[in-house]
Amino acid sequence: MIGNDVIDLSVARLESNWQRPGFLNKIFSVKEQFYIETAKDQEQMVWKLWSQKEAAYKIFNRETGTRVFNPIQFECSIDTSVFGKVNFKDKIFFTKTLIDNDKIYTIAVTDPKHFSAILELKQDHKIFKKEGLPFIRKEELGFDYPISVTHHGKFWQAAMLDQIL
């Protein structure tokens, strides 16, 4: 399973004030707030962690069919500047985050082996929704592939796992 989330920093800056009193406490654990406090670029760290949570949540939502708004319990860890994890209760998600100027893009998977099987899709694919969740259809195989789509500001990303693993 795969989940992705993109953030346009130039838009996040207009939409949210992460320095608002109480904001960080509502969504970030003590450990995550330490990442933020000690980051060179605090704003970037706030939204990087947020995109990790969102990408992991998309997998959780798809796997369980449940919706929750519980960002603080999707707790991030950072392993390298690119790779990290998100823990939610007994689940663990593995994340890869790429940052390029105003763009923060995280992909979450349930097995780190899947990082090598990620396919990024272009907008010309025929994407359709089943019960609110996006898929693409491979006519020749007669099979619908679950994909994850994200857009924010000027950015749009869609990703899927190559099923031939």
């Binding site: 996040a12 939409e15 949210s16 608002r20 109480g22 904001f23 509502k26 969504i27 947020w50 969102e54 919706r67 929750v68 708004f69 519980n70 960002p71 603080i72 319990q73 609110g132 924010h152």
Partner: protein, 100 residues
């Protein structure tokens, strides 16, 4: 005026409070919505994210605004359910009752 209020029965009073809460809630969420039509036609069943297209980071602002407006604390357990107008109203009512 005070006399008049005394005549309002419990049920009617509750209904009026509910209507009042919806009006107050609408004022709180208005800055964050991205779907005006859904906002104009808002009901208790309206979903903050699916219908009003409030982005999830702004849902945190909605929670903080509600806390400030009603002087209540919305814990994690309550916040987890806060996806619809109905859920938000139930949480406000519950926290206000616990406070009084």
């Amino acid at each position: 005026m005070i006399n008049n209020l005394c005549y309002i029965s419990g049920e009617k009073n509750k209904k009026m409070n509910k209507e009042q809460t919806i009006i107050e809630l609408k004022a709180i969420i208005k800055p964050y919505i991205a779907n005006n039509e859904a906002f104009e036609n808002l009901t208790e069943e309206t979903d903050f994210i699916a219908d009003l297209k409030i982005n999830s980071a702004n849902l945190v602002d909605v929670v903080l605004d509600i806390e400030e407006k009603y002087n209540i604390i919305i814990d994690n357990e309550s916040m987890e359910k806060m996806l619809t107008v109905k859920a938000a109203m139930a949480i406000i009512e519950e926290k206000l009752a616990a406070r009084d």
